[in-house]
């Protein structure tokens, strides 16, 4: 059978078997509604609170500052819209490299009279905290800058941004979907008011995520109903997914140091080899301030979707944000914000590593990718 190798862990991760095992009893044995008063409900209520504590401890928050949601997209929607609805002031600052769910929530608010302003980034996709300081106004209600960029892996200076926001009495939200479980997060020392984390990026199930809301932050819920999650997110809690999320978090924290060491070694080997062996190949994103599992490179004269499908025919799964792969046929807003020309953005691919990536997988990738680039360049009119 043809081998199939996954290099798209930044998109989603498989569920760790240890997580699957932890979830199993909660499908049909311990299935109670956490709001029910009988013993079935009581059992799941306890489990719910236990897992809330796991998430809270992971980011140095208090238990009642964590609400469970269904996805990072939902958490980010609550953070932006919830803060906008609950506070006076119309000005919202977000980075220009945010994930679509932050970007489009902000744009939606803009269409309803909010004044949304974008923070520029440098050539590596990094926000300058000084820009935040410069752009904060009296009527600014929220600053949202992601912790790690999902496309290029750049680590944003959120601690510095957090302290600027706190000093100016402005709420600071960070989308930590790509960093949670990979980088240390301390919402207290980092002066974070709202933070989004997700289960499906850390070998947990889809359908579970959380939003940290610091005590005292004024925010409105988006879902109204039975008053679950401290009235912030009505819906019967998805206990199996939350249990999986909790277990996945525990495992990530326990293995974080070792795993980061292992993955950054593999990451650096891929980057070094490609830059050395493939002509006209460049790194996108920061060379040092970079999450351990992200490689994003661009190849001149060829197009990302072609690279993706050619690699797919060798059983290698990567991703691209090239225009041709997007429904709108527009190049990635992240690469564009970094100042890349359209033709440079078109030739970019993301290779993201994870728990199941082995040395031999990287060997295989590095034996195939340079040939794929060569082959596509033979077809291109712009080969040298």
């Amino acid at each position: 059978m043809k081998q199939k190798i996954y290099f798209d862990y930044a998109a989603t991760t498989p569920i760790d078997p240890r997580v699957v095992k932890a979830m199993e009893p909660f499908f049909n044995k311990k299935f109670g509604n956490a709001s029910s008063l009988h013993c079935f409900g009581n059992d799941t209520k306890k489990v719910l609170e236990k897992n809330r504590k796991i998430i809270a401890d992971a980011i140095n928050a208090k238990e009642d500052e964590i609400i469970f949601t269904s996805s990072a997209t939902e958490s980010n929607n609550i953070a932006l819209k919830g803060v906008a609805f609950a506070n006076k002031g119309k000005h919202i600052l977000i980075s220009s490299v945010e994930h679509d769910c932050v970007l489009n929530s902000a744009k939606w608010l803009k269409g309803r009279g909010y004044d949304v302003e974008f923070l520029p980034v440098d050539q590596y996709g990094m926000v300058d905290p000084k820009e935040v300081e410069k752009k904060i106004r009296k009527d600014t209600i929220l600053v949202s800058v992601m912790h790690v960029n999902n496309e290029v892996g750049t680590i944003e200076p959120i601690k510095e941004i957090g302290s600027i926001c706190r000093k100016n009495n402005v709420y600071f939200h960070t989308d930590a979907a790509q960093s949670f479980g990979k980088l240390q997060i301390d919402v207290v020392s980092m002066n974070i008011d709202l933070l989004t984390v997700s289960s499906q990026k850390i070998y947990g199930p889809k359908g579970a995520a959380a939003l940290f809301i610091r005590d005292g932050v004024k925010i409105e819920p988006l879902l109204h109903g039975g008053g679950q999650e401290m009235n912030m997110r009505s819906s019967t809690e998805n206990i199996p997914a939350i249990v999986g999320f909790g277990k996945a978090t525990e495992l990530c924290l326990k293995e974080m140091k070792e795993e980061n060491k292992r993955l950054s070694k593999l990451r650096d080997r891929i980057i070094k080899t490609l830059l050395k062996e493939v002509k006209d190949c460049y790194l996108n994103g920061h060379p040092k301030e970079r999450v351990s599992n992200n490689v994003n490179v661009r190849f001149s004269f060829i197009e990302g979707e072609s690279i993706l499908f050619m690699l797919d025919s060798f059983g290698i799964a990567i991703s691209t944000a090239s225009a041709c792969s997007s429904p709108k046929l527009e190049p990635s807003h992240v690469l564009s914000a970094m100042g890349l020309k359209h033709e440079e953005a078109h030739g970019s691919i993301r290779i993201s590593l994870g728990r199941m990536t082995k040395d031999k997988d990287v060997d295989y990738l590095l034996s195939v990718l340079p040939n794929v680039v060569e082959k596509l360049r033979l077809i291109s009119p712009h080969k040298k």
């Binding site: 072609s306 359209h342 291109s380």
Partner: protein, 144 residues
């Protein structure tokens, strides 16, 4: 998302490469838009004796380039000009709707190569080709 036939042409495209001293060369699209095609022609007695392409672009751009060269190789210029985007799509089974413009681009590249052949050989350009040429060079947005 792509049909078997599209992927077949993409993985092993037919007639790719350059022709030195072509009788006609057509260039359409540009790198900023994400796809650019070069079509090279060798023509004798109004018959396309040889055709090659070079394409920068996505899977569909490469596959449609390959199919167009197959469809017109050995045909007369007149026959070649009758190729429609539907012929290209039919030859590939199916194209995702968002990629239909790639098939248009490949046909445009062929038209431009034939236009270039007429100019080079100082043959008066038939009105139909002239008109299409004017439409192609006027096109401003990337994927209209």
């Amino acid at each position: 998302m792509y049909s078997k036939e599209v992927l077949k042409h993409f993985k092993k495209p037919h007639n790719y490469g350059k022709i030195e001293n072509p009788d006609g060369l057509g260039i359409v699209g540009n790198m900023a838009c994400g796809d650019e095609m070069f079509v090279y022609l060798k023509i004798k007695d109004n018959v396309i004796k040889n055709i090659k392409f070079e394409t920068f672009g996505c899977v569909a751009a490469i596959a449609t380039s390959s199919v167009v060269t197959d469809l017109v190789k050995g045909k007369t210029i007149k026959e070649a000009l009758k190729i429609t985007k539907q012929n290209v799509i039919d030859a590939l089974g199916v194209l995702p709707p968002i990629k239909i413009h790639c098939s248009v681009l490949a046909i445009d590249a062929l038209n431009e190569a034939i236009y270039n052949y007429y100019l080079k050989n100082e043959i008066s350009v038939p009105e139909e080709i002239e008109e299409k040429h004017n439409q192609i060079i006027k096109r401003e947005s990337c994927h209209s």
